[in-house]
């Protein structure tokens, strides 16, 4: 109420802006590179998106290529229907699994870490858990391939324990692709992902724990009734951001891990776009599928944000 009253006293907006600019000069100067970055690298390239609606050939360039409307989308959904549903299904399933198993893992890890009182042990554990995050994907996949190959570590362990008689070819069984993908993803991001939650935990008012203690809550109950609600807003925000990437699976890792035998479960939108758009030089087609993918992502964020707002009162906007 008061704010609105103040506003009416202000002269006009331009003067207001000018005054603000003068007052916070250095802040605005610092803002310039960021805005420029987004403009140059995220907005200007958008004009290239039009090739999704054109029959693009390098000879004619982006402007010169003829418009074909939704032809490329039709090609994707109608002519290539054999692959469309498979890659959409794979993309969604990998993400759903990642959401179910991968998303809670850092939270649980952070909660467990929080319970460790010995600070040296805790730090060591933390540092060790960060490590995989810094290994490049190529190396990670190389390790997966070595460990899970037919005469790799995992098969040998299983064999020596008598669980298996014949080695499993993990890398060529379509059924193993998703577990391996999601599992290695958890291993990779567990420690790193827990940082934000640990930070949130450290922000919780210690008085709340004391109060809970006086009320007779044990450690488990403290975690359940104080820690989790305390970091819930963070969880929701992280969840929303994650949903925004629902349709994007890390291209690199899938690309390195899959092969024709596992296409059935491994081929995702981004790898398909790569094969079509870049390897087979159907740039328009690739752009069309990529655009479709982004639109879905966009809708997912809006949708889940709305739900989150209703359910938890925490949201991105």
């Amino acid at each position: 109420m008061e704010k609105a009253a103040v506003k009416s006293y202000q002269p006009n907006r331009w003067q207001e802006l000018k005054k603000d600019l003068m007052r916070n000069k250095s802040l605005y100067i610092m803002l310039i590179p960021v805005v420029a970055y987004y403009f140059i690298f995220h907005y200007i390239p958008m004009y290239g998106l039009q090739i999704a609606f054109k029959d693009f050939t390098p000879a004619k360039g982006i402007w010169g290529s003829p418009w074909v409307g939704l032809e490329k989308f039709k090609e994707f959904f109608v002519y290539d229907s054999f692959y469309v549903w498979r890659i959409i299904r794979n993309t969604i399933l990998i993400n759903v699994y990642d959401l179910i198993f991968g998303f809670p893992a850092p939270i649980i890890f952070a909660l467990l870490l929080n319970e460790i009182k010995n600070s040296i042990y805790k730090r060591t554990l933390q540092t060790v858990s960060y490590m995989p995050h810094f290994i490049s994907t190529v190396v990670i996949v190389g390790m997966i391939m070595d460990f899970f190959s037919r005469d790799g570590l995992i098969n040998q362990i299983l064999k020596s324990l008598g669980i298996l008689s014949e080695p499993i070819s993990f890398m060529t069984e379509p059924g193993w692709f998703r577990p391996l993908y999601v599992g290695s993803g958890i291993w990779q991001n567990l420690g790193w992902g827990s940082i934000v939650y640990l930070a949130a935990i450290s922000n919780i008012d210690p008085q709340l724990y004391e109060a809970a203690l006086i009320d007779g809550a044990g450690r488990f109950r403290q975690a359940l009734y104080v820690t989790i609600p305390g970091i819930l807003p963070t969880i929701v925000i992280m969840f929303l951001l994650r949903v925004g990437h629902m349709m994007n699976v890390g291209f690199e890792k899938v690309f390195l891990m899959y092969n024709p035998l596992t296409y059935e479960t491994a081929d995702v939108i981004s790898t398909y776009v790569y094969r079509k758009g870049l390897l087979e030089m159907d740039y328009s087609y690739g752009a069309a599928v990529g655009l479709f993918n982004s639109v879905i992502n966009f809708l997912l964020v809006i949708f889940s944000n709305k739900i989150a707002k209703k359910l938890t009162e925490t949201s991105l906007w």
Binding site: T57, A59, E75, Y79, S149, S169, N259, M281
Partner: protein
Amino acid sequence: MDWFKSSKKVLSTILVIAFTLSLVIPAFVSSSSTAYAKSIPTLTYFVRLDPKVATSYNSYSSIAAYQLLQKKLGVKIVFKHPPVGGETDQFNLMIASRQLTDIIEWNWIDNYPGGPVKAMLDKIIIRLNDYLPKYAPNLNKYLQQHPDIKKLIVTDDGDIYGFPALRGNNPKIACVYYGPQIRNDWLKKLGLKEPETVDDWYKVLKAFVTKDPNGNGKKDERGFSILRNASNPRYAFDYSSFLVGAWGIKTDFFQVNGKVKYGPLEPQYKQFIATLQKWWKEGLIDPDILTMNQKVIRANVQNDVIGAWIGLLSGDMGFFLNLKKDIIATKFPVLKKGEYPLLGQAEFLFSRTSAAITTACKNVPLAMKVLDWGYSKEGYEAFNYGVLGKSYVKKDGKVYYTDEILKNPQGLSAAEALAKYARASISGPFAQADEYYYQIQMMYPQQKDAVEKWGQVKNDRILPPLSFTDDESKRLANIMNTVNTYYDEMFLRLMTGKATNVDAFVKTLKQMKIDEAIKIYQQAYDRWKKRK
């Protein structure tokens, strides 16, 4: 104190200026150096970096033959090598962004969607016919003397678009370099004869995996594997027609009496798949070909685990013979004893790769001159033999590679050692010499024998390099991209018995409009037959 202060100020100012300049100056320096270099014309040249060169150099400009070329023609060539393994990506990005080099060496027939005709329509590369007589007299003369080769390298309209990489003059030795190889010591130990028929192959492989030929007491033998092209077993069969050729078909397009056919649609294809399935089920095929790890397979051959494989003459067979492995080549299998194999690995003298001049080239005559050099006598010798007295010597008018090449002191293979001086072991826009094949590709008697055996095939069912019209190639790309992804996947599933229904596979291929693709191939083949 004052002096100190001011000097500090001066010093810091100087430092700031120096620092700023150091950011700006390189731009000046490089521009001034190009200004200096302007007296020497420069050409940019996109070509993949061959691993044999990569063991010694990171650019083709270090190869002695190219240094000679640059000196003789007074030109500077700047090679742009895409990262190994990322060649296609890099090429496609270059095309899309139109940051073309002056010269691009590429397989325009298979690796540019739509082929060379489309590349010219897309204004990527230029038509050379008008320039040829004037600026490339050597190639022009060569093509006049070899009309059969000219027929291979032109488009249907008679357009010449590039300087062809030629495999020498003798198809008997130059076009055969990939085929079945087997452990001779294992055969002897088990008292087996060199397999000839498909049944022989089954018996031999079966004995390999059951009778412990490597004598380590373990049942770790694997019968059959694929060395080259392990990354895609289907492609390995496409490429060599090993096994599938016994039924007189290929796994992909071929022709019988002028009629184009597609392997999977032929009735014999079922028998081929059934044989593969049997081999797979009984553990005769190396399971590692599914994980596509060529290194592991190679190590297993080295460790006496694998009994037979298809691989390269020099890169694979030569490599193992160097390690004193007792291996021999076998003929391509047939159905009945004494039959003459219908299909095996077959290549044309033109290797499908050409160095083309792009629309970005400002000095076409110069680029023509540079590329034409490879077909001149001097260029032929430099590209094939390297440097006289260093990489080769002449005795009684005959050429012999030196010990530095054949018994390299640094432990390089002959092909790798030669790659430091010449391009013969890489192929390129010139004709490879017979001496290269005899002295380096066939250093060992087993290799000579291999060429002899692999060469014993009819191979009259193979399709020549065809060229398609713009519309045809668009439609073909549409169909074949879908088909190939599906085929890659299904081939492995069929081989491993995860899918057994060939009819259902064929039915899906038909839904994907494979018949239309065959028709397009037929049209292109009919046009090829009319080529002059």
